[in-house]
């Protein structure tokens, strides 16, 4: 099979979506952090109290702060600190979106092997993101 110097259609599509999502995510991250650090939105944990909890392990931290793990932060988006989870989750979710974008391209080319690998990768990423697999600390 002849090799082409130009990246494949799916590689370029992946790059375009990754580029766009990453830029939006980073801009949002800076904005939400500004809202948090200048206390424009009140945080769930007062900033001055953070040194009392950031030395704890996750289990103790969750117990002391009363924070629920998983996707419960969605309920507290009016809090400055939890609002930062939105761009962080966006950055962490970007790969899923990029893989969903390239799946039809593989299927259109009848590249079923890579189509199947892409579906498996999406499932693994969704499983990780689902919150079903989490550790309550030690």
């Amino acid at each position: 099979m002849a090799k082409e110097l130009k990246p494949t259609e799916e590689q370029l599509a992946y790059a375009v979506w990754l580029d766009l999502g990453m830029k939006i995510g980073l801009i949002l991250l800076i904005i939400t952090f500004g809202l948090y650090v200048f206390e424009i939105l009140p945080p769930f944990i007062p900033i001055s109290q953070l040194p009392k909890v950031w030395g704890l392990n996750v289990h103790q931290y969750l117990q002391v702060t009363g924070i629920q793990p998983g996707w419960s932060w969605l309920k507290y988006l009016d809090r400055g600190d939890f609002l930062n989870f939105l761009p962080l989750a966006m950055l962490a979710g970007l790969t899923i979106i990029c893989f969903i974008r390239i799946l039809p391209l593989y299927l259109k080319k009848k590249d079923y092997l890579y189509g199947a690998l892409t579906i498996l990768q999406i499932l693994v990423l969704l499983l990780a993101a689902s919150g079903l697999l989490r550790v309550g600390g030690h």
Binding site: Q11, I47, W54, V58, F85, G137
Partner: protein, 334 residues
């Protein structure tokens, strides 16, 4: 003209090395100040009732400064930000290692996401090569993250220290091959149609590549994924030798594909940390911004500093912080 350039380059180097030295010195001093908190981490009530010896804003500010310098060093030393971030911040800041590893993963992830589009567009990172390896590594990273968050802190510190010291050994001993010879691609890589071509400006021609030993590489990516998830280190230090020396991928493609792979491997582990509550925005966001700004500056001064000097700084920092983690885990230097 060239003398002026050389003199400007050497004064840049002096400024940079003095700055790095000052930061290293300050984190050693900080380690003394933060001992109270590190000890307190194992006794929650004491920490909650205790008063901090420094104003709370000092730590995020210092974190920003340190990660900014780490960003510069990482680019100049040719290593990922995550591999420096976790042992140094974990060893010398008062944050629990759970949050440091969560932040380390997001730092490595952000760097990989930022670099990914350019590398993919230029054909240096290869999606077809990445997908099977990423599937294995990202699945294993989930297991690694869950193990890391379940183990006692001292065990994680010991394992982290040993891993960092092993990375130093790899940095000393691992050879690199710019254009490895692959006589016959293996049948799995042929079935997956993993091969490619890229333009090499240094040679002024196109370089074709193919790979071998794919099944063994897939097995090694299980280990790499587990370690990436467990320690939040990123995994470029392991990805590149496997891609380049084992599979026979040209060095440039190996480094680029490794960087892109991190954006997938670290994603799954980052989700486990995020969903387990091991993310504190006040630790994560200054680190991401600091290391990214540092990387931008690092790229700009790349041409005026001697890579060998920076490489020794990286090795020194890793050895020191690796020993710190090991001794902390063993209860010798808490």
């Amino acid at each position: 003209m060239s003398e002026a350039g050389s003199s400007s380059g050497s004064s840049w180097q002096r400024i940079l090395i003095t700055f790095i030295f000052a930061v290293v010195l300050s984190i050693i001093v900080i380690s003394g100040i933060s001992d109270y908190h590190v000890f307190g981490a194992e006794a929650p009530q004491k920490v909650i009732e205790g008063e901090t010896s420094l104003p709370f804003w000092v730590w995020p500010l210092l974190l920003f400064v340190v990660t900014f310098v780490l960003g510069i060093i990482a680019v100049l030393g040719g290593v990922g930000g995550g591999v420096l971030f976790v042992p140094i911040v974990g060893g010398f800041f008062p944050f629990n290692l759970d949050f440091v590893r969560g932040a380390g993963l997001l730092v490595a992830l952000s760097g990989a996401l930022a670099a990914g589009p350019g590398l993919l567009r230029r054909g240096l990172a290869d999606l077809r090569l990445s997908i099977p390896l990423a599937l294995i590594a990202s699945s294993s990273a989930i297991v690694g993250a869950m193990i890391g968050l379940s183990l006692p802190k001292n065990v994680v510190n010991i394992l982290l220290g040993l891993t960092i010291l092993a990375i130093v050994v790899i940095m000393f001993t691992a050879k690199k091959s710019e254009y490895p010879q692959v006589e016959k691609p293996d049948s799995l890589s042929q079935a997956l149609r993993i091969y490619g071509i890229y333009y090499e400006p240094a040679k002024g021609r196109e370089i074709e590549w193919k790979v071998h030993r794919t099944p063994l590489a897939l097995l090694l990516f299980v280990v790499i994924g587990v370690m990436a998830g467990m320690f939040g280190l990123g995994a470029g230090w392991a990805n590149v030798p496997v891609l380049n020396l084992l599979m026979g991928v040209p060095l440039k493609v190996a480094v680029s594909t490794s960087k892109f792979l991190l954006s997938i491997t670290d994603t799954t582990a980052a989700w486990i940390y995020l969903n387990s509550g091991a993310i504190i925005p006040m630790i994560v966001v200054p680190s991401i911004i600091g290391i990214m700004l540092g990387s931008i500056i690092g790229v700009r001064i790349l041409t005026v500093v001697k890579p060998k000097v920076i490489r020794w700084i990286v090795i020194g920092l890793l050895t020191f912080s690796g020993l710190r983690a090991l001794l902390k885990g063993l209860g010798i230097w808490t």
